[in-house]
């Protein structure tokens, strides 16, 4: 079900106004966010003004843009005009407010979407749990005692709880895919360089991606088409024309699908394997596709992240160690001490890992892998256990996502609901070759049409 299409139809028919939609959305956020803590800032006055502008267009008989009246919210590392860009950090509160919207926020606004507010995240995007010491944890809408995942936890949880149908987040090592998996929503990380990052707080410029969360693949495609386009302000943004995917989303096609084995099997719990099995059956996927560089790619991403992220914050960490998130500041400092040889080696391995994956994509259109090794755990958990091996929880939930963002391929996470972890979801990564977002979303759409992947709005608890 497409909420974007429903809103467009309702506005066209006059059965509802954008202003009514916004008031309904405000009421939902006011009720649901008390328990979940997704929003760190609300932009309700701006939303009312934007809704009034959409209603005025409709009354004048003007054509409405693609996302007219669709409420959305953004991870608080996106610049929003007149608001301070927090990037999850209390120490950023004294920074000057943003002079203008970030590029993707601007593109959504130009398409008629209505900004409702800014969302919680791990400080400076360094974490997979959204346990933010300053702003509190964002709770999982399917079980409020558990994490929402991170670092875009507020973005995933707000959609899972039905507060807004659309959000934006960022993904450096899995920060869209991990919370999508744990909250049971659709999340999309396009190819590295596809979407401009100008007007967003950076973490690791060589790995940072931006992308949307939604309740259906059709909505992901609709918003992705609006977000595309070149931008000279982001030097990593590819100079490619807009390649719309929504018009071809339902075109019948025979896809060659494989399931990634090796690292992606070994590091996955039984429940995660079951989620992949369900998707593989529907897509008639071949099992056990070997990408020998997966673990090395994960390590490369970890090292590059540590070094680049550590370097970005080193000066401030030296002056204001106490002002940084206790859950990640020592990891950031350790990253800033990484020897140069490891970083260069990691960047060379990254190139080699991509080369091997491109050869695999000569035989397959789409690959599948779990998005997280486990479903969401309790807030405050320090360690997770995978097949008897104990790992630090806050740094490890992304170990199946990291190898793929390391090589920049597009990935759509689809929500699957294995019986053995009910009522919690677990996401599956649907992976395509660079610049083939069309195949990635087409396969995800097939999984949704077949009912294996589906959005289930979380019921209010307590």
């Amino acid at each position: 079900m497409s909420q974007v299409a429903d809103i467009a139809a309702a506005l066209r028919s006059g059965s509802i106004t954008a202003s009514q939609l916004v008031e309904d959305c405000i009421a939902r956020i006011r009720i649901r966010d008390i328990a979940l803590n997704c929003f760190t800032g609300r932009s309700f006055e701006r939303a009312r003004a934007e809704a009034a502008a959409v209603d005025a267009m409709r009354e004048q008989g003007l054509p409405l843009p693609a996302l007219a009246g669709v409420p959305f919210a953004v991870k608080n590392l996106f610049d929003v005009e007149g608001e301070v860009t927090l990037a999850g950090a209390r120490r950023n509160e004294d920074n000057p407010p943003a002079a203008r919207d970030g590029m993707l926020v601007q593109r959504l606004r130009d398409a008629g979407a209505i900004l409702m507010g800014m969302l919680n995240m791990d400080e400076h995007a360094y974490g997979f749990t959204t346990e933010n010491t300053s702003y509190g944890p964002t709770r999982n809408p399917h079980d409020a005692s558990r994490i929402s995942g991170g670092s875009s936890g507020g973005s995933a949880a707000a959609v899972a709880a039905g507060m807004v149908p659309l959000t934006l987040g960022s993904d450096t090592n899995g920060s869209i895919r991990v919370p999508s998996s744990l909250c049971g929503v659709f999340g999309f990380k396009p190819t590295y360089g596809r979407l401009p990052r100008s007007g967003s707080f950076p973490f690791v410029q060589g790995l940072d991606h931006l992308g949307p969360f939604a309740t259906s693949v059709e909505d992901l495609a609709a918003v992705y088409d609006v977000l595309q386009g070149t931008d000279p302000e982001d030097s990593a943004c590819a100079q490619r024309p807009v390649e719309p995917v929504l018009p071809q989303l339902s075109t019948p096609r025979k896809l060659r699908v494989g399931v990634l084995g090796g690292w992606f099997h070994e590091q996955a719990s039984e429940v995660a394997r079951e989620a992949v099995r369900q998707c593989a059956e529907v897509l008639q996927a071949k099992p056990d596709v070997q990408w020998s560089m997966a673990e090395a790619a994960r390590s490369a991403a970890f090292i590059i992240t540590g070094a680049e992220g550590g370097s970005l914050h080193r000066e401030n960490l030296r002056k204001d160690y106490a002002g940084y998130e206790p859950l990640s500041r020592d990891r950031l400092i350790a990253g800033s001490l990484i020897p140069g040889d490891w970083v260069v080696r990691a960047q060379r391995i990254r190139a080699l890992a991509l080369k091997e994956m491109l050869a695999i994509f000569e035989q397959y259109d789409v690959l599948l892998a779990p998005a997280t090794p486990l479903p969401a755990h309790e807030i405050g958990t320090a360690e997770i256990e995978i097949h008897g091996k104990r790992l630090p929880a806050r740094a490890s939930m992304g170990l199946l996502a990291q190898p793929l963002s390391c090589i920049g391929v597009p990935v759509c996470t689809v929500p699957v609901w294995p019986q053995d972890c009910a009522p919690m979801p677990l996401g599956v990564q649907v992976i395509a070759a660079p610049w083939r977002e069309d195949l990635c979303l087409a396969a995800a759409h097939l999984l949704e049409q077949q009912g294996v992947a589906r959005y289930v709005e979380a019921a209010p608890q307590g």
Binding site: Q205, I303, R318, D330, I333, S336, V344, R348, I349
Partner: protein, 60 residues
């Protein structure tokens, strides 16, 4: 890297990079660096041909 070498490396690198942390924080950084070093081991096992260039995005 053995424990002593790692401890010495982290303390020296912290000094070189201008950090002034209390001992409890230094211990936490050492723990985090141990984890990074363990993960970096996976890079050592990859044979890298000379012609493989770093995956840079710098575009002059």
């Amino acid at each position: 890297m053995n424990c002593e070498a790692l401890d010495t490396y982290v303390r020296s690198a912290l000094q070189l990079q201008g950090y002034a942390l209390d001992e409890a924080s230094v211990q936490q950084v050492i723990l985090q660096f141990e984890r990074i070093a363990a993960i970096a081991q996976a890079l050592e096992s990859v044979a890298l041909p000379l012609e493989v260039e770093p995956a840079s995005v710098f575009r002059p």
